[in-house]
């Protein structure tokens, strides 16, 4: 990687190879790489950063059903914070985020450690743990909605199998509905976390493990003292990926509970959508989108910065 920097840093390149460096043609030839990159870059600047600025601008206007240029300062943000639905959405995001990240992490690490014990049939089990990741959240939501159906799903199955008193109505119980979203989310993503940890375990320094074993450490101690501490970067990646997915969670909630019963499973993403497009509160919707962006940026930007910096010094 450092070779690139030595040979091609900054302005070297084709202009040294070709004699024709003057005039328009020469300029084109020298600039060809930038011309090729330009459309993607311009699109990103407009459709990502331009749009962020525009949404930020809308969040300070009195836009209702249509955009409106009347400037009202931070009124939409004040309104947002006084809206009960937004409070519910934030509470739900906290419950969902904490449980989703914790359970996926614990389950992923446990399965990875178990799979790393020279398991016969690992090649058979691993794809089974991971396949839900290939499904759409809409499909996952549909499947779990049926699986947990209070009348015909798990509850009825348990009754059929003789557990008459078994009752499971979380899907239609406003106190418990958010936990069904956690279940389906964990089902979909935990295999991916397992794969991340497994890759991390396979990269652990063998010498240190052997040394610990020679010292008489039990396998539990070896994991606790030698192996898991080396998985720091994997924990960080998993946390960033999962928290990012939790904040963006939209499809799963729509398909599984539709935000209900009532507003019991409202999350910021469903809040933003309904206030912007169905409740004609575009200014408030834009404000909620800005809050979502800032939350994700606070997690992602330091991470990306560290990742790309780290590579430079390799």
């Amino acid at each position: 990687m450092s070779a690139f920097h030595l040979n091609y840093s900054e302005h070297s390149g084709p202009n040294k190879m070709n004699d024709d460096t003057s005039g328009f043609l020469g300029w084109c030839r020298r600039s060809l790489p930038k011309i090729v990159l330009a459309p993607s870059f311009v699109v990103t600047i407009c459709f990502v950063y331009g749009f962020i600025i525009y949404t930020g601008y809308i969040s300070t206007t009195a836009s209702k059903m249509l955009p409106n240029s009347k400037f009202i300062g931070l009124t939409n943000y004040e309104k947002l914070w006084r809206t009960l639905n937004w409070q519910v959405a934030l509470d739900n995001l906290a419950i969902f985020g904490i449980l989703y990240i914790t359970i996926c992490g614990v389950l992923g690490l446990t399965l990875a450690i178990l799979l790393d014990q020279k398991i016969r049939g690992e090649g058979f089990l691993r794809p089974i743990y991971l396949y839900p990741m290939a499904l759409s959240f809409i499909v996952t939501g549909t499947a779990w909605k049926w699986f947990l159906n209070p009348g015909l799903g798990l509850e009825k199955t348990m009754h059929e199998w003789g557990w008459e008193s078994f009752s499971f109505d979380w899907l239609v119980n406003s106190e418990m509905a958010i936990y069904t979203v956690v279940m389906a989310g964990v089902w979909q993503t935990s295999g991916f976390v397992m794969a991340m940890f497994l890759a991390g375990l396979r990269g652990v320094d063998n010498e240190q493990v052997k040394a610990a074993q020679l010292d008489g450490a039990s396998s539990f101690q070896t994991y606790k003292r030698v192996i898991i501490p080396q998985l720091g970067p994997v924990f960080l990646s998993a946390f960033v990926v999962l928290s990012h997915m939790a904040i963006k969670a939209y499809d799963l909630v729509v398909a599984l509970t539709g935000g209900g019963p009532g507003n019991a499973t409202e999350v910021p993403a469903t809040f933003m959508y309904s206030y912007t497009f169905t409740r004609n509160q575009m200014g408030v919707g834009a404000a909620s989108a800005m809050i979502m962006l800032m939350t994700i940026a606070a997690i992602i930007v330091p991470y990306l910065y560290a990742e790309t910096r780290g590579k430079r010094h390799e």
């Binding site: 396949y131 759409s136 990646s237 939209y250």
Partner: protein
């Protein structure tokens, strides 16, 4: 990094092995169960669903729900099943994946072999675009699509998916080409090969794996998308996932769970198929998507 368990005595060792295998199998069941239930439900009649056990195999296997889901189930005002939406999605996915992959390959090539002042910033800005919550672009995007006259069309969705797909495709190709020997590029340059010549003859022939990874990643993401479809093309031209959600969550008429499940299976099959055929590449994409280069 294994064999650790085998330190202890033979008996307790065997006990642990049994426990480990049991746990692993129980979790395999946990992951398979919803798919299994979805599948068997899709082959049952409604009567059997109401009377029988969700986990039981169908007593009478029927393909009726699959035919109905494909060809005659009611979504919105039309009763033609999900097949039109299936084709809508194909028409959207194929061009979007192709364009985003080609652009990503060229971008990755420029950002590693033709570096210029500020290349790191350009890449960083494009990379962050992958991770924004898309709620932030919904309002301006719906206006831009309206102004361009492509709101509610497949072309509009292709534009949207290419726009937010090139960040990842650029990331994949950049990380891949970073490890490509620069000496080869340099000697081709001395031989007089140009920008595209080097790309075409030197880099592209060895890009097979990363092309597969990128195509699978983009295909899965775009096929499974719901938010953009629901926001910008929710009518007749809607993609598959929007139609599936409309079908399952419509409140009119008798709830036909078997048809819902068959439709969900049809929506899931393309990505499941890709996963079964090329799972290795799918996982590589996932890993690269979490920015571990």
């Amino acid at each position: 990094m294994s064999n650790i368990v085998q330190n202890s005595g033979v008996d307790s060792n065997r006990f642990w092995r049994v426990l480990i295998y049991t746990t692993l199998l129980v979790f395999a069941l946990f992951y398979l169960l919803p798919l299994f239930v979805m599948l068997v439900t899709s082959f049952k009649s409604l009567d059997e669903i109401r009377q029988g056990n969700m986990m039981a195999l169908p007593e009478v296997w029927t393909l009726e729900p699959w035919f109905k889901a494909w060809g005659s189930a009611c979504i919105g005002l039309t009763c033609e099943g999900i097949h039109t939406y299936f084709w809508n999605t194909i028409k959207m996915v194929v061009p979007a994946v192709l364009i985003a992959t080609i652009l990503g390959a060229l971008n990755g090539y420029v950002l590693t072999k033709w570096r210029f002042r500020g290349h790191r910033w350009v890449f960083g800005l494009m990379l962050f675009g992958c991770f924004i919550p898309f709620q932030i672009v919904l309002i301006p995007m719906s206006q831009v699509l309206g102004n361009l006259g492509i709101a509610g069309t497949t072309a509009g969705l292709v534009l949207v998916h290419v726009t937010y797909g090139i960040g990842f495709s650029t990331l994949f190709f950049r990380n891949y080409y970073e490890a490509f020997p620069t000496e080869l590029v340099k000697s081709a340059m001395i031989d007089g090969a140009g920008f595209f010549g080097i790309f075409w003859r030197i880099l592209l022939p060895s890009s097979g794996p990363i092309i597969v990874v990128t195509v699978i990643w983009l295909f899965t993401n775009i096929w499974n998308d719901f938010l953009f479809g629901a926001s910008f093309n929710a009518g007749e031209g809607a993609p598959m996932m929007v139609a599936l959600n409309n079908l399952v969550n419509s409140s009119t008429g008798v709830k036909e769970y078997n048809v819902d499940m068959a439709a969900a299976m049809i929506a899931a099959l393309p990505t499941l198929f890709v996963y079964i055929v090329a799972g290795r590449y799918f996982v590589r994409g996932l890993m690269a998507g979490s920015v571990k280069g």
